[in-house]
């Protein structure tokens, strides 16, 4: 009978250990209690003895390698017990669950230490790997967060490999699964041997951008409204405070004003700060205003989130934007600073361009695109004058946000931007 000895948790919640030294080699005979290897863990440096007598059939891991708790250290061929006899042996123990291997004749058993399940498998060939054994079908263990996330992303959680305790599916596993599944998305065949093409692997950022925009385009019903707003007064106000802000070490762009206007407008038009829960036929309204700002970095787009943006002053917003953009470019943002956004603003105008059809940052339902301010002839008091025009493009998820509501929302934002004093009036 083949016995697989997995690295046990020898220190109350240990996750891994590093192999310091091997005392045995393949083919060596050992007695139970003999030391197999020395292991360095968070808690202790200790010898790990063998629970069985027999012959070492396989050794996993080299000196210096880090091994996770629960993964195989050695396989031991236990003498005198093999084939059908071993199956009987395994079944004798009532506390042990015997799981049939799908579609294969049972010709031997593999006993796995640490778990109370034994997986019958072939004992042919001493080099066979354990992971070739089919996993039993059971209700998958998962954290509630992971389950909710899988549901939201329409992933069959049973297909996700869990890395948590006892194979529990964790939130991270869902993300990892998504990333992998992205690789499966079919693309046109390109001849890799062609000298005129260059192959580069996707970066993590690019993978998640690809995943997120696909998710949004496939799920949300995009609809976009364009408009222009004259902001000469705002420009004057900004010029007035620009120097003062710089004295305090903060660069003042138009974005703080736009964020401020947006949060004020969101409070009136709450549907744009909501989320659709289609599985439960309900809309989730959020009474907090976390505004994502799209930041262009060398590696691609990153969207840090300004939490409770409605509570911040123009100065504080300017400060936050400076800080977040800096962190985004240096890749120093942590997960907290990237999650829980309720609405997003993409300010491509700082580079150029007027109008766009921005893709919603799903599962949010609205995104505001801000173009470049340009001098344009406008009609004021029946005379043509030079105006400072800021182009706005707003995409919404039409499943829950209609055109009329979107237009009213944009109108309110424009009113604020036209008359900067109104910020403090509302």
């Amino acid at each position: 009978m083949r016995y697989i000895f997995n690295f046990p948790d020898i220190g109350e919640g240990l996750e891994e250990g590093t192999i310091v030294e091997w005392y045995v080699t393949k083919g060596q005979k050992i007695n139970s209690g003999d030391s197999l290897l020395k292991m360095d863990t968070d808690k202790v440096v200790t010898d790990i003895p063998s629970p069985k007598s027999g012959t070492i059939a396989a050794i996993y891991g080299k000196v210096g390698e880090t091994v996770r708790v629960g993964t195989a250290l050695v396989e031991i061929e236990i003498e005198g017990v093999s084939g059908a006899e071993a199956v009987k042996e395994a079944q004798k123990d009532s506390s042990v669950e015997v799981i049939e291997e799908k579609g294969a004749a049972v010709v031997g058993t593999i006993e796995v230490a640490g778990s109370r399940a034994r997986l019958p498998a072939s004992d042919e060939g001493m080099s066979e790997k354990i992971n070739e054994i089919d996993k039993p079908i059971k209700k998958i263990l998962a954290t509630p967060v992971a389950r909710a996330l899988a549901k939201e992303m329409r992933i069959d959680i049973n297909k996700v490999t869990g890395t948590g305790p006892a194979g529990r599916v964790m939130k991270e596993d869902i993300y990892a699964y998504l990333q992998n599944s992205l690789n499966i998305i079919k693309t046109a065949k390109i001849n890799i041997a062609d000298e005129r093409v260059e192959i580069k692997p996707l970066t993590q950022i690019r993978k998640s951008i690809a995943r997120n925009v696909s998710l949004s385009k496939h799920n949300a019903a995009h609809m976009t409204v364009f408009d222009e707003v004259e902001i000469s007064d705002l420009i004057r106000e900004r010029e007035k405070y620009k120097e003062k802000f710089i004295a305090k070490g903060v660069k003042l762009s138009y974005l703080p004003f736009i964020i401020k206007a947006t949060t004020l407008a969101l409070k009136t038009h709450k549907i744009l700060n909501a989320q659709l829960d289609i599985d439960n036929n309900q809309i989730i309204y959020k009474n907090y205003y976390n505004i994502g700002i799209a930041v262009d970095t060398d590696e691609g787009l990153i969207v840090p989130v300004i939490r409770d943006a409605d509570d911040l002053t123009i100065f504080e917003l300017a400060q936050k934007i400076n800080e977040m953009s800096e962190k985004a470019r240096k890749r120093e943002l942590n997960l907290e600073e990237l999650k829980d956004g309720t609405f997003t603003i993409t300010n491509y105008g700082s580079i150029g361009g007027q109008f766009s059809v921005p893709i919603i940052n799903f599962p949010q339902v609205g995104i505001l695109g801000v173009g470049r301010i340009m001098k344009k002839p406008i009609v004021k008091n029946d005379a043509i004058v030079i105006g400072n025009i800021l182009p706005l493009s707003i995409s919404v998820d039409h499943r829950i946000v209609d055109g009329a509501e979107t237009t009213r929302f944009v109108n309110q934002i424009m009113d604020y931007l036209t008359d900067p004093v109104s910020f403090i009036m509302d």
Binding site: P8, I10, G33, K43, P51, R116
Partner: protein, 362 residues
């Protein structure tokens, strides 16, 4: 004896030296050879089991365990004095005392495998389960002692604690109450030099631990905790005193924890090899064995033979414990109440529905 070895004088009560030679004829106890040999075998069995449990733990076959390695003499001496009707109130590092009271190795294994049945003690009476909250057991001991006194029973309580436990408030409460109400409890401090990694020098500013008895107005003595003869004499005297006078006694037994605090601890991080070697010279088993060999009561062959027997016995009982049937999940609902409360009924119902759902999926 208590006057001769007053803890205020910082004297340590010792009967044999490191080589097993008698250095204190006056207090050499009367123990017949058979009993002495049994004491040695009990110490050896405890040590063998102890070392094997640590090995099992490293194999992932049992959970966290606190080894008694090096402290066997104190516990076996207590077991020699302790009668069936006397109470044993352990901390958690008293394997040999447990075995002496009639607890089986299998029960000990079950406890550390997470089975409550490991604390049932089918063959041992008047014994409390292991107490994980440090020093809390001393209050239980004093309480039992008070009951003994109240009902005028002829019993003694043997209560264990470590040097670290003496810093707990419970230690003070138990000894103070015991002193005031005069209860028949022998408090035994296994001073093994470390409470996890804190050395005893950082544990108390007192000259020694036994001296604390003075403040509580009770008898106290500091004993060589690796000297089975001294321990037997001291514990026997204390036990008789506690019974006849109905008064507590505090015994500080100076020893060394040769193993780790628990299997999750690495003692090499806070103590030196030199220190370990120094204490190896004072090993309690080595000293008693030397005495037995010197007096032609024991041979190396016998030693090897019995060691093999013990190893097989430990392994046999361990495998028995490993094959112990798992508890049914239903016990979670049914164990506590005679009549199940509504919320438990609802949870049980949910559980049954879950099982049906699981069955349907197959």
């Amino acid at each position: 004896m208590f006057d001769e070895y007053n803890p205020l004088d910082e004297k340590i009560f010792q009967v044999i030296d490191n080589d097993g030679k008698i250095v204190n004829n006056k207090w050499f106890p009367e123990i017949d050879n058979e009993r002495l040999l049994k004491a040695y075998r009990d110490m050896l069995l405890a040590r063998t089991a102890d070392l094997m449990i640590v090995s099992y733990q490293r194999q992932g076959r049992i959970y966290t365990y606190p080894p008694s390695y090096g402290q066997e003499a104190i516990q076996v001496a207590t077991a020699m004095v302790m009668r069936d009707e006397d109470w044993l109130v352990p901390a958690f590092r008293e394997l040999a005392a447990y075995l002496g009271k009639g607890v089986t190795l299998k029960e000990v294994f079950l406890y550390y495998m997470g089975f409550e049945d490991g604390s049932r003690f089918l063959n041992a009476k008047n014994i409390l389960p292991i107490s994980i909250p440090v020093a809390s057991q001393l209050l239980h001991a004093t309480g039992i002692g008070y009951e003994i006194k109240y009902n005028k029973k002829d019993q003694v309580v043997f209560a264990f604690v470590g040097d670290g436990g003496t810093s707990e408030g419970d230690f003070h409460e138990a000894l103070n109450f015991g002193g005031v109400w005069k209860v028949p409890v022998v408090f035994i401090v296994q001073n093994n030099q470390y409470s996890i990694s804190t050395p005893v020098s950082k544990q108390t500013a007192s000259k020694n631990i036994a001296i604390k008895s003075v403040a509580y107005g009770i008898k106290g003595i500091k004993v060589d905790g690796n000297d089975i003869f001294a321990l037997f004499q001291a514990i026997k005297t204390a036990s008789e005193y506690a019974r006849s006078e109905s008064e507590p006694v505090l015994i500080e037994a100076l020893t060394y924890r040769k193993g780790s605090h628990t299997t999750s601890d690495d003692p090499t991080l806070y103590r030196t090899e030199d220190e370990e070697k120094e204490w190896d010279m004072k090993d309690p088993l080595k000293r008693l064995k030397a005495y037995l060999l010197n007096n032609n009561l024991w041979t190396e062959e016998q030693d090897q033979q019995i060691l093999q027997q013990f190893k097989q016995e430990v392994d046999r009982q361990f495998v028995e414990a490993e094959n112990y049937p798992l508890y049914k999940l239903e016990d979670v609902f049914e164990y506590i109440y005679v009549e199940m409360p509504d919320d438990l009924k609802r949870q049980q119902n949910e559980h049954e529905n879950f099982l049906k759902w699981k069955e349907a999926r197959k």
